[in-house]
């Protein structure tokens, strides 16, 4: 059922692997690349790639990852348990070998083949456990006779009374006779044949009431429960009441302690024991609480292992710190949770504070989130498109109202002009009053500023369809040898469905090389909503299989925030796309490239 199980170091060296069939492609590589490195937004521990589903687990103190690969259409509920157990067994057995990987004296790769049998045993044990649990959960459905509904019916009520009467009768009669009567009843079919008995009883007719002083001698004796009778010996022997093998133990003080819940052995495994989390020794740190001072000295000497509880408080403080820096609340908690997960199991020296380590890990995590995956060299892309495909490079600027699309478009235009590119500006904002005039003024200024190259505007006035205008603009640019076409769109709220449809149409008809989302650095939690809805609109209103998404982000009004730069983190985290430009003012030269180190420092500065 499993297709592959791999145990490797985080550094990429495969320690042990078992393939049950041929694997198409490299799903583990895809998992590491997409789920673990690139997209930090996986809270689930499941990932799909091609025809396979993957689940994984980490052992952070030894830098090892465990991956299970199986067919996507299967539902294997025990994989999580299997991963946990295999991790425990593997670490317990091979910890020394794993540490030897960085020991310079060992020049040969340690052998991990001995794990083959143990893996089979663990898997068998986990499967059995899972089946047992499933069986106990899904017991056979109750018979109708056992339900309350049956008891409410007439037949049920009658049967119940008869059962009571029968039971009562056997009580009235002394010991041995009761046993005989019971045997007699059972031969007749017992309680299941109660109906026959009931029918027979009914024929007996109504019994007379027994008044005081008129009871027979037999009945009187039967009703006399005082005094010990030898007849109560039945069922009084200890062996029948208590299972000797399940007895607990008596401690030295004479206190009787109940036996532990026993793990049912696998029968023929020859003493194989499935490890559990509670068996794991936690590095001897928690051995006995010790006094306050003594415990502190102990932790100073031997250090401590990080757990989620220990990280809860520093992480809460870090989350608050990030929220104060204008990071969206959801993003802050997701990032903190991911960092906490990656730190579980690490060992901390006595004198080192958890807080310092948390800051270190946060810095690495934030740097990784902000670092772009693809190249942000636009000039190189423009040259490539012009030379290879002989058409202008198109960039579309989208965003909500008032974030600075037209201003930053003109700044980008100025930068391109300085690099000797011929630029055409397409005025596709046909809604806002003065939008086209604003761009005309920009074009006039830029022409005056740049001596040899020229910039032109392509406009068709107000009220027309912006997708058509963009298409005409690109055709015009191709005809007249322009290098770049910048498309200015109208600002629109992310909830406005007709406008989002219009944007999706513009993007699909014209297929710009880069779709740049313009967002202001002042935005807080709104950033999450805006980006998600823009991406979703472009995906769902396109009607095509290959949909476009936002390719890059322009962060504007950066000079208005001091070091509350959280919006940069929120936007990059949601989309996974880089911040291509940063707008730092309102003149043509106020455009910068993103500096990851500086933003990370600003985020972590107290």
């Amino acid at each position: 059922m499993l297709d592959q199980f791999t145990i490797a170091t985080k550094g990429g060296v495969v320690l042990w692997s078992r393939e049950y069939t041929d694997i198409a492609g490299r799903p583990v590589d895809a998992l590491v690349q997409e789920a673990l490195i690139e997209s930090a937004r996986t809270d689930s521990t499941k990932y799909t790639s091609g025809a396979y589903s993957l689940q994984w687990a980490f052992a952070n103190e030894l830098n090892v990852i465990f991956v299970a690969v199986y067919q996507k259409m299967l539902q294997l509920p025990y994989v999580e348990d299997l991963l946990r157990r295999v991790r425990l067994h593997f670490i317990a057995r091979f910890e020394a070998e794993i540490r030897a990987l960085v020991d310079p004296e060992r020049a040969a790769f340690p052998a991990f083949d001995a794990f083959n049998e143990e893996f089979d045993q663990v898997w068998r044990a986990v499967e059995e456990r899972d089946q047992r649990e499933r069986k106990s959960r899904q017991a056979a459905p109750r018979k109708f006779e056992d339900t309350k509904k049956f008891q409410a019916t007439a037949r049920g009520a009658k049967l119940e009374l008869d059962e009571l009467a029968q039971a009562g009768e056997t009580l009235l009669v002394p010991g041995r006779k009761a046993a005989k009567m019971r045997a007699w009843n059972e031969r007749r079919g017992g309680s299941a044949g109660g109906e026959d008995g009931a029918a027979k009883k009914a024929k007996k007719g109504k019994e007379n009431r027994v008044w005081e002083g008129k009871a027979s001698k037999q009945a009187m004796e039967a009703l006399d429960f005082s005094g010990g009778g030898a007849e109560d010996s039945e069922g009084a022997t200890g062996s029948a009441l208590v299972d000797e093998s399940a007895r607990g133990t008596r401690t030295a003080d004479g206190i009787y302690e109940v036996a532990d819940v026993a793990e049912r052995a696998g029968g023929d495994d020859g003493g194989f024991v499935l490890l559990d989390d509670s068996d794991e020794s936690s590095g001897g740190n928690n051995s006995g609480g010790g006094g306050g001072i003594l415990g502190m000295f102990r932790s100073l000497a031997s250090g401590r292992t990080l757990t989620l509880e220990m990280l809860a408080e520093p992480m809460a403080r870090m989350r608050e710190h990030l929220a104060n820096k204008n990071v969206a609340a959801d993003i802050a908690s997701e990032v903190c949770q991911a960092v906490a997960q990656s730190m579980v199991g690490m060992r901390v020296g006595g004198l080192q504070s958890t807080r310092a380590l948390v800051e270190q890990s946060m810095e690495t995590a934030l740097t990784r989130i902000l670092t772009p995956v693809s190249s942000t060299d636009i000039i190189r892309d423009i040259d490539h498109v012009r030379r290879q495909e002989r058409r202008p490079y198109t960039m579309a600027f989208v965003g909500v109202n008032g974030v600075g699309k037209s201003t930053n478009l003109s700044k980008v235009c100025y930068w391109l002009l300085q690099n000797n590119k011929r630029v055409l500006i397409a005025a596709c904002d046909t809604f806002r009053s003065g939008a086209v005039e604003q761009l005309r003024v920009h074009v006039r200024n830029l022409c005056a500023l740049s001596e040899n190259q020229s910039v032109e505007i392509f406009e068709r006035g107000y009220g027309k369809d912006s997708a058509a205008i963009a298409k005409d603009a690109i055709a015009h640019g191709a005809q007249n040898g322009f290098d770049v076409v910048l498309i200015d769109t109208a600002g629109r709220m992310q909830d406005n469905e007709p406008l989002m449809r219009a944007l999706s149409k513009l993007v699909n008809v014209n297929r710009p090389d880069k779709i740049l989302f313009v967002g202001e650095a002042l935005v807080g939690n709104e950033a999450v909503d805006q980006l998600e809805k823009f991406n979703r609109a472009m995906r769902s209103f396109s009607g095509q299989s290959q949909t476009r998404q936002i390719d890059g982000i322009i962060l504007t009004k950066f000079d208005t925030i001091d070091d509350r730069v959280g919006a940069a983190l929120s936007m990059t985290y949601i989309t996974g796309k880089p911040i291509v430009f940063v707008g730092t003012g309102q003149t043509y030269t106020d455009l910068r490239k993103m500096n990851v180190a500086q933003v990370t420092r600003a985020l972590l500065r107290p």
Binding site: T9, K10, G11, G12, V13, V14, L15, R26, V28, D29, V32, Q33, L36, I37, E38, N60, E61, N63, R99, L101, V102, D103, P104, A107, A108, F109, A301, S302, G303, M346, R347, V348, G349, G350, L351, Q352, T364, T367, R368, T371, P372, V373, S374, S375, D377, I379, R380, D383, W415, Q418, N419, T584, R592, K593, M594, N595, V596, A597, Q598, V599
Partner: protein, 260 residues
């Protein structure tokens, strides 16, 4: 006189106690740091000169690291398989008799900061190129090589660089010379476009982020690897073919020479 002696004795005892406390403090610090080092994920302490293996994802860096780190296993061609790295592989090792600190940085773009940090302390750099990919499109490899050459202060320290054209066992692989020529042409274009890039955010002029747009080579002259301050050597290799046929002995020899 007795009082003076008593004060002196008190001072001496206080001094001794203070020294003992300081010594104990330093010992505890060292001990804590040692506990920290037991985390295999933590940056390993470096005792010898560092050799950094860099390159794009899937080029064969971790395979090379395994070959160099485990020479005994590598001789019998039983080197472990590798997958995409998500952490730095760093370990002391013996390469051609010399003791070096071998570092393998993941090729994924997100590990740029780690790579730059490792390069800043490197004494020799091996850049692994996937020759099959380079035959098709050399731009990503050229960008990665540009980043490596320009950052970390390699040019200032004249740190030697070996460009290893890996996967030569594949028939589609481009040869040494072809890869070299393609890289030179692409870096020529890249240095122009990087010069034209915007300034980086923030006032720090010599931030590492800006070093990536440093101009390589001489202006006005087509880029060639000889123009660089660092000695760059090109070699062919194939990790899949094992130790002798794969050219690994040549790599070890180069490392031994470079670290002298």
């Amino acid at each position: 006189m007795g009082g003076g002696g008593g004060v002196l004795a008190a001072l001496a005892s206080v001094l001794v106690l203070a020294l003992a406390g300081l010594a104990g403090w330093f010992l505890l610090q060292r001990h804590s740091a040692a506990i920290q080092q037991t985390n295999l994920g933590a940056a390993a302490a470096r005792k010898s000169r560092a050799v950094v293996i860099a390159g794009r994802m899937g080029a064969g860096k971790t395979a090379l690291w395994c070959h160099l780190r485990f020479p005994e296993t590598s001789a019998t061609q039983a080197v472990p398989r590798t997958q995409t790295s998500m952490a730095v592989n760093a370990s002391e090792a013996r390469v051609a008799g010399a003791r070096v600190h071998l570092v393998d940085v993941p090729g994924h773009q997100k590990y740029r900061a780690d790579r730059d940090a490792q390069l800043a302390a490197a004494s020799a750099v091996v850049f692994v190129v996937d020759s099959v990919d380079a035959a098709r499109d050399v731009r990503p490899a050229a960008e990665a090589l540009y980043d490596v050459l320009a950052s970390g202060g390699l040019q200032d320290r004249e740190c030697p660089v070996l460009v290893l054209c890996n996967k030569q066992d594949d028939s589609r692989a481009a040869s040494n010379e072809r890869v070299r020529a393609a890289l030179e042409a692409e870096i020529d274009t890249l240095r122009a476009s990087r010069q034209q890039a915007l300034d980086s955010l923030g006032a720090a002029a010599h931030d590492d982020a800006d070093r990536a747009s440093d101009f390589l080579g001489f202006e006005g002259k087509a880029f060639s690897f000889e123009d660089l301050a660092t000695p760059v050597q090109f070699n062919e290799a194939s990790m899949a073919l094992g130790r002798s046929a794969g050219g690994l002995e040549m790599v070890e020899q180069w490392i031994a020479d470079a670290l002298q």
